[in-house]
């Protein structure tokens, strides 16, 4: 259950974004989250109301954008979709691959409100 700690880190970042842009609040935020981020989207969603209460992000709607797991093969060079626990090449079956996406845990966009 580290999702609350993640939400608190998110609130800190949002506070910084609001200050940098002279905003009084925010109406929506977008977070990109991959299956290999180690964070469960549903738990993040549940923790969010507790973490944002009384902060600049209190009234912001949290949009979670799931990303898919994709790998590129070191042997044949093909890029393919993979399962989180089976990162083998979809084209040739080789296990020596590099992750292209799927481990993101990123604040991508904030919609700011100005008084």
């Amino acid at each position: 259950m580290h999702e609350l700690a993640i939400c608190q880190a998110l609130v800190e970042q949002l506070d910084g974004v609001a200050r940098q842009n002279g905003a009084s609040g925010m109406s929506a935020i977008w977070v990109s989250i991959g299956p290999l981020s180690g964070v469960e989207a549903e738990l993040l969603r549940n923790a969010w109301p507790f973490a944002c209460a009384g902060t600049v992000a209190e009234h912001a709607v949290l949009h979670l954008q799931p990303s898919s797991v994709r790998v590129v093969c070191r042997q044949c060079g093909a890029e393919s979709e993979a399962q989180a626990n089976r990162l083998v090449c979809g084209a040739c079956g080789n296990w020596q691959t590099d992750l292209v996406s799927g481990d993101e845990l990123m604040l991508t966009r904030v919609e700011l409100v100005h008084d």
Binding site: A9, V17, V71, L87, R109
Partner: protein
Amino acid sequence: MCNTCGCNITPGNRHLARRTQPAGTTAVEVLQRLLSGNDACAAGNRTRFDATGLLVINLMSSPGSGKTSLLEATIDALADRVRIGVIEGDLETENDARRIRAHGVPAEQITTGSACHLDAHMVAGVLDHLPLSSLDILFVENVGNLVCPAGFDLGQHCDVVLLSVTEGDDKPAKYPVMFRAADLVVLSKADLLPVLGDFDPGRARQQVRELANAAPVIEVSARQQDGLRAWTDWLLGRLQQHRADAGTQRAASAPALRYRPVGLGQSA
């Protein structure tokens, strides 16, 4: 890549960052890792470790897999050759730090209360209590948990994950985030393999490979001292490599060494 000029917006993520917004609001594109605060603190820890050439190893496993027993055996086996220090992470009690101190090495206990993992700030908080400049290897024994510790970079150089043979050999497939990041997987309590009969080390190794991880998978019994040599050889090899890298970096007057953060990937 940065969060200032927009160069972190790529064709792959542009659709995430750009959309139309309602009247009366403005939108900003951020693309910043949620744990960037932790990452910055971890980088500070790493700079501090690198100043003295200290090798730091993050030891992770489920509760009861034998992390402390492995450390006790390691300290005894390397007593004359390597100066070891330990940071112990547990929800409660000083028990593990006491066990380690009984072997004559400095140990600091972090009790996390209800937190299920160590983070970089917790580790930073105890570094002043350890004689870092007179150590060769600092082990951070993370809270027993195969999920949360994988997400938090502490400033370590290597991740070692223990999988005891009393657990299932399919653990790597069940906990991919943790096992994908491992630099070494130790199959612990290996003396029980003949008794149990249903744990297949080959299967465990295969599942680590299917996570695109080439890390060695070794069998060790801390109690019977079997396989301990493979573990200590790996440690000594890493230490030697670490010092060689640090020497090269210093010679080139380069900034502090950079290592891959655990688990969570790059920001763009």
